[in-house]
């Protein structure tokens, strides 16, 4: 599915180094499908020991409802490679995450699922954290984030990932189309190693 524009209110979660164990704790990873992880998103921060929502946690507040953009602290998604983390964020309703820095595997996993990782400078980031709930828009084509006052911030996005997002193109399809080159490589490697 193509991802071109995202316009939404934001939700801010300023904690730094939020690891994927927080985003989706390991006890929920025994599932064998991708569906339904949203209810477990940030489970240990979101619910008390009896399973009741903690009213002061940001995702439980009324203003979080319907928000599609998460402003996260630096180094979001570190730790485990579990792709269940972007699955959970998307299932909850997020379409983009904005931070100053993303952990490598989390960034890759997010892009593969159409959850847009947006890396921005520290001062814009600090403003967004200080002003949660503002409406911003993200344009994939021009790789810009537009703030409420109309000012625009460019963000980096790897060219092929951008192409895939805009066109709803599947990376596996692209890899499968390289079949001839892969076969040639396999023949050459087999000769080299024997």
């Amino acid at each position: 599915m193509a991802v071109k524009n995202i316009r939404s209110r934001t939700v801010a979660l300023p904690a730094t180094n939020v690891d994927t164990d927080q985003i989706i704790p390991a006890r929920f990873l025994t599932a064998t499908s991708k569906a339904g992880f949203g209810k477990h998103l940030f489970a240990d921060w979101r619910y008390d020991a009896d399973g009741n929502p903690k009213p002061d946690f940001v995702l439980n507040r009324p203003e979080a409802k319907g928000a599609a953009i998460l402003i996260a602290g630096r180094n979001i998604g570190c730790g485990s490679s579990r792709e269940h983390a972007p699955w959970a964020l998307q299932d909850f309703g997020f379409q983009a995450v904005i931070s100053t820095e993303f952990a490598d595997i989390f960034r890759t996993n997010s892009l593969k699922n159409g959850l847009l990782p947006v890396v921005i400078d520290e001062s814009t980031h600090a403003w967004l954290l200080a002003n949660p709930g503002v409406e911003v828009s993200i344009d994939v084509e021009s790789t810009t984030l537009t703030l409420p006052d109309g000012s625009q911030v460019k963000f980096p996005l790897e060219g092929f990932a951008r192409f895939c997002l805009l066109n709803g193109v599947d990376e596996l399809g692209f890899l499968l189309s390289q079949h001839t080159a892969i076969s040639a490589y396999e023949r050459a490697a087999s000769e080299r190693n024997h």
């Binding site: 904690a15 390991a26 006890r27 990873l29 180094n75 570190c78 490679s81």
Partner: protein, 461 residues
């Protein structure tokens, strides 16, 4: 070294518009991060491209109690039992070699690859698991991937990758007596931070690294991801070749000689440059213990909990129930875990047993010893190590990831302090509300005896 391995695996070079198509020599798989990938293959009518380069094991959600592994007692967690069953179905349908629950070759995926000798210098190795960095200890380029990419490798044996940067970790000197590879990697993470390696492949170099056994090198490379680096590498040398020569699936005869000749060309050329580098003197280190909720929050065992007035830091200390200025050796210990892909190899069990021998666990302390593989378990039992643990009052289990992440029901109770030889002290990692202190097997064993964090150098070394 990284560039040589990378160049050898480029199927289609990267351009401004497209990443490189990179060939993968070995795909290790387990039950947790593969089910959705097989579903994708099935829905597209795709086959597994290279079953000969794919291996499956069960480790994360599997039980460690002998009666559940071998005695026919069902796996306690229903969804885990279903996941294990799903892997059996997928392996059968797609033709993947699987070490199932009762297989004598089963174990944690990052322990069995090296044990079998399929982890080799110069290979590209991936697995849907961030600790795949472990295999870099052999001079392989090994990194963790997500489930979508697992599907890519199953279907095409390739990944789309942009070339990462390189980062040299130069370790001078020698580790003092009683200071281990675990202490060194914790010190490195403390120095560069948990995102210090992001976007980079680390290369650990220098006399301290060259002096290490393969087990120690694996402990180092294993935790590269805790510094944010997807991969860590160590140049293959005589130690590497000696280890591999004794493994069942390493090349034999003339193939072995040819392989060693190829592998010997992999180390980084003199004068090659890295994008970044740092220097560390191993001789200055002492045992290290974490006090917070990520592996970068680490202090010398002779030190105290530092202060750092930001809210996230304060929140971490509150979670841990610790105060700034408190000596590390004052921290109580309720639970001890020896195991994991970081420190679940035979030498780790030997080191813990050497400290523990002739002692009992302190009152109220529970200790779980979980070998990294069934082969490690057999070897440890042949040496009588299990008896040392049992005599001290610890539990001796079947292999698996176990209490490192508590997926299988091996959990630390809320509020308890757990000194653990694993790799992550994240909130809730070992159980909801569990307070994890990462340390070496020696420090874990010494702390088990005293019931508080204890410098292992106070015991036999």
């Amino acid at each position: 070294m990284f560039e040589k391995v990378w160049e050898n695996h480029v199927v289609v070079p990267e351009t401004a518009d497209t990443p490189a198509v990179l060939f993968i020599d070995l795909h290790l798989t387990h039950e947790v991060t593969t089910p959705q990938a097989y579903t994708e293959l099935r829905s597209r009518g795709l086959k597994l491209r290279r079953p000969d380069l794919t291996l499956a094991t069960m480790d994360h959600s599997t039980p460690t109690r002998t009666e559940q592994v071998f005695g026919g007692v069902p796996i306690a967690v229903d969804s885990a039992a279903k996941q294990v069953r799903q892997l059996e179905i997928n392996a059968q349908e797609f033709g993947v070699e699987l070490f199932n629950l009762q297989d004598s070759r089963r174990g944690i995926v990052h322990i069995i690859g090296p044990e079998l000798g399929i982890t080799q210098p110069g290979k590209t190795i991936v697995c849907g698991d961030s600790h795949t960095s472990t295999h870099g200890a052999f001079g392989a380029l090994a990194f963790g991937i997500g489930t979508t990419e697992v599907g890519h490798v199953l279907a095409t044996q390739c990944l789309l990758q942009r070339r990462p940067k390189t980062f040299a970790i130069n370790v001078a000197g020698r580790l003092p007596q009683g200071v281990t590879a675990k202490d060194l990697i914790l010190a490195i993470i403390g120095k560069i931070g948990v995102s210090g390696g992001t976007g980079h492949v680390l290369e650990y170099r220098g006399p301290a690294i060259e002096a290490m056994s393969m087990d120690e090198r694996m402990t180092i490379c294993n935790m590269s991801i805790e510094a944010g680096a997807r991969a860590g590498m160590i140049a293959p040398d005589a130690t590497t070749f000696e280890y591999l020569a004794a493994t069942p699936r390493a090349p034999k005869g003339a193939d072995w000689d040819a392989a060693v000749a190829r592998w010997s060309k992999l180390p980084t050329d003199p004068g090659a440059t890295f994008d970044r580098s740092i220097e560390i003197n191993a001789a200055e280190l002492v045992p290290m213990v974490t006090y917070g909720t990520h592996p970068g929050m680490v202090a010398p065992i002779t030190g105290s909990v530092p202060s750092q007035g930001d809210a996230v830091f304060e929140k971490a200390l509150k979670y841990m129930g610790l105060k700034a200025g408190e000596p590390i050796v004052n921290v109580p210990v309720n639970n001890v875990f020896v195991g994991s892909c970081t420190n679940g190899r035979l030498s780790d069990l030997r080191n813990a047993a050497r400290v523990l021998r002739g002692h009992k666990l302190a009152d109220g302390v529970k200790m779980l010893v979980v070998p990294g593989s069934q082969a490690v378990k057999r070897a440890a039992e042949a040496e009588g190590l299990h008896q040392v643990f049992l005599d001290a009052g610890a539990e001796w289990r079947e292999s698996g990831c176990s209490m490192c992440l508590g997926m299988n029901g091996d959990l630390v109770p809320t509020g308890h302090y757990s000194i653990s030889t694993s790799n992550r002290n994240f909130e809730g990692r070992q159980g909801q509300g569990a307070r994890t202190l990462l340390a070496s097997p020696e420090t874990a064993a010494a702390s088990a005896i005293r019931g508080r964090v204890t410098d292992p150098r106070e015991f036999n070394q």
